[in-house]
Symmetry: C2
Subunit: 338 residues, 2 copies
DNA sequence: GAATATCGACGAAACGATTCGACTGATTGT
DNA sequence: ACAATCAGTCGAATCGTTTCGTCGATATTC
């Protein structure tokens, strides 16, 4: 059941059927209705592949997610969901690809088979080979996170430096004088993961500004690492009365370690950070944290990409998200020194 | 940079380039190398859309996930990741589509634009309009979960009835005589969600077999619903000493409510169920539960689908997963009656 | 009333690959 | 030595759309 068959049964030419459907040229009302009747009867829908070939675009965007190895997290999940929703609104399909490993077959397939009109790249590294690839292919793309030299590119990012800085400010205002940062894993830092680097910088700046003690700890993205990380902090720096965390996956372990050390939150210990709302609310007491705006980010990424596909040489759009810090119950005045 | 350009520069015809690449006909070694040199120089990759049009297949499978509304959960996330991985191994791309709402535009686009060679349908209902649609279009598909009449279809599912039954057996063996089931939400049950129905049946059968008291409670898929659900159970049925749960998202709330009621686990209260390993390990003490085998399920679904695409009229493959129940620390002997 | 728009429809040429049949030399078999 | 095979290549058709140019027929304009 292709357009030729419809044309034959309606007694018109293929082009007339096409114009009747697209409305790009006038078609008399009677033939239009005759054609529509045949279409309804046979349940014809134009073949998307043929259309894509002819039009030179696929009405599809590629979404490159981190490989399953590195465990997609809940925040990213929410992001993916919101990208789908936004793409759907723009009548675009979403082709998934995981990448970040050594041998990114699906990335190659999608990108150099020209299966997509544009790409959203998650979990970008400061120096990212995929970005170079997309630039070389002149395929429109938007990155979630920035490379080291983000000028001239299209990206959205979360301003970890500012957010971590604000957390430090908040804790310092409450009288805390020794604060630890629970950052992401050493591997992630080593591989040039922007948020981890910028959290580090924002933290260092803020503690320096306040003239207070600050120490950074890297921590793998899971609960048990969070537990040992806190134990380590408490052992090596008993003077610490508050932590800032950007490692949401470690939170359950952080909680356990603090409970085991009988450090009541927020009476004897404070904690603030950046996390998806799910994790912040899961914490007990609920975590004072900047909630990652996954839904906004997904919608914005799609908007930027659509715009760039329409106008590949337009000005590159960029947006830094600085979500407000939701005051919950995990921070309080520093305990009196004993 | 299309195949014609390559042919021109290599001084051969387009068909020769094609045969050199596919190996479907003999090409002399010297011309093959000449062609390869041109290809390497220009970085040519065949256009996937044109190939798809000609070959009549897209090397793409559709993955239909529940809409963002109904919140994709971690187990589903793991499933999606494993589908991607398996598809990648089979050199297939994955086109995402969310569906389940009233107005499934992306499902329509993917399915009747013939953008995919087959579909994996998650979160199937006992009577599902999408299944009828796919059958009518004669598009190969595999469902995750069964419809009410699953004969002749391709599906995989988790045997909730058996698993819940085994949990009841386990608890009964430990001496528990009054057990509650924490099922999924009433809406989900009402909409004909198979796992919820089968959990109910398995539970009813098992408590009857043991001649013990069993009562079922529906509970929305979130922590606070879990909390009120347990409070309700304890209030209305103080004789209950154990629960079986198939509602992983409610677990954190269940935990809170039991803690608040000062019911130590497993000394004074036991709990077992079906859950993704993440949730089971998140529970304290860790939950005795059948771990949902998301990774196996994803790989199996892709296998079945690939097979069915290759042979649309072959025998429909089906598989019921009955993952073993991992004994952890949340179940113990029933407390002596007081 | 002749020149000129305008409308509605048609045919053919793309888009970029794959594949079938045919053709040319060279090799083999008898 | 003549037919049969075979390796290597080419041209043309095809997949299902969209769109450009064209062309009657009717309507508009001076």
């Amino acid at each position: 059941m292709n357009i030729g068959e419809i044309a034959r049964r309606a007694g018109v030419s293929r082009s007339t059927v096409s114009y009747a459907l697209s409305g790009k040229r006038a078609v008399s009302e009677v033939t239009r209705q005759r054609i529509q009747a045949v279409i309804d009867e046979l349940g014809y829908r134009p073949n998307a592949t043929a259309r894509a070939l002819r039009e030179g675009r696929n009405r599809t965007l590629g979404l490159v997610v981190p490989p399953a190895r590195g465990r997609l997290n809940l925040m990213q999940l929410e992001f993916v969901a919101s990208v789908m929703e936004a793409a759907d609104r723009a009548d675009l399909d979403v082709l998934l690809s995981s990448s970040g490993g050594d041998h990114d077959r699906s990335f190659e397939r999608i990108v150099d088979g020209r299966r997509v009109d544009g790409v959203i790249l998650m979990e970008i590294r400061l120096d990212d080979p995929r970005v170079r690839r997309l630039k070389a292919l002149r395929l429109p793309f938007v990155t979630i996170g920035r490379t080291a030299r983000p000028q001239g590119m299209c990206w959205i990012d979360v301003d970890y430096a500012t957010l971590v800085g604000r957390c430090v400010n908040h804790l310092a205002d409450l009288g805390h004088r020794h604060i630890a940062l629970i950052n992401r894993s050493t591997e992630l830092v080593a591989s040039g993961y922007g948020p981890a680097h910028r959290a580090r910088e924002g933290f260092a700046d803020a503690v320096a500004r306040h003239g207070i003690g600050g120490m950074e700890f890297c921590c793998a993205d899971d609960a048990s690492a969070g537990e040992t990380c806190v134990q380590e902090i408490l052992r090596a720096h008993p003077e610490v009365t508050a932590v800032v965390t950007v490692n949401e996956a470690a939170l359950p372990g952080v909680q356990r370690a603090l409970e085991d050390a009988e450090l009541n939150i927020p009476a004897r210990f404070s904690i603030a950070g950046v996390a998806a709302r799910f994790w912040a609310e899961q914490f007990r007491p609920q975590l004072t944290a900047a909630d990652l705006p996954a839904v906004d980010m997904g919608a914005t990424a799609v908007d930027f990409l659509v715009e760039r596909i329409a106008e590949p040489d337009g000005p590159p759009r960029q947006h830094l998200f600085v979500p407000p810090i939701s005051l919950r119950n995990s921070t309080g005045p520093a305990p009196a020194a004993h």
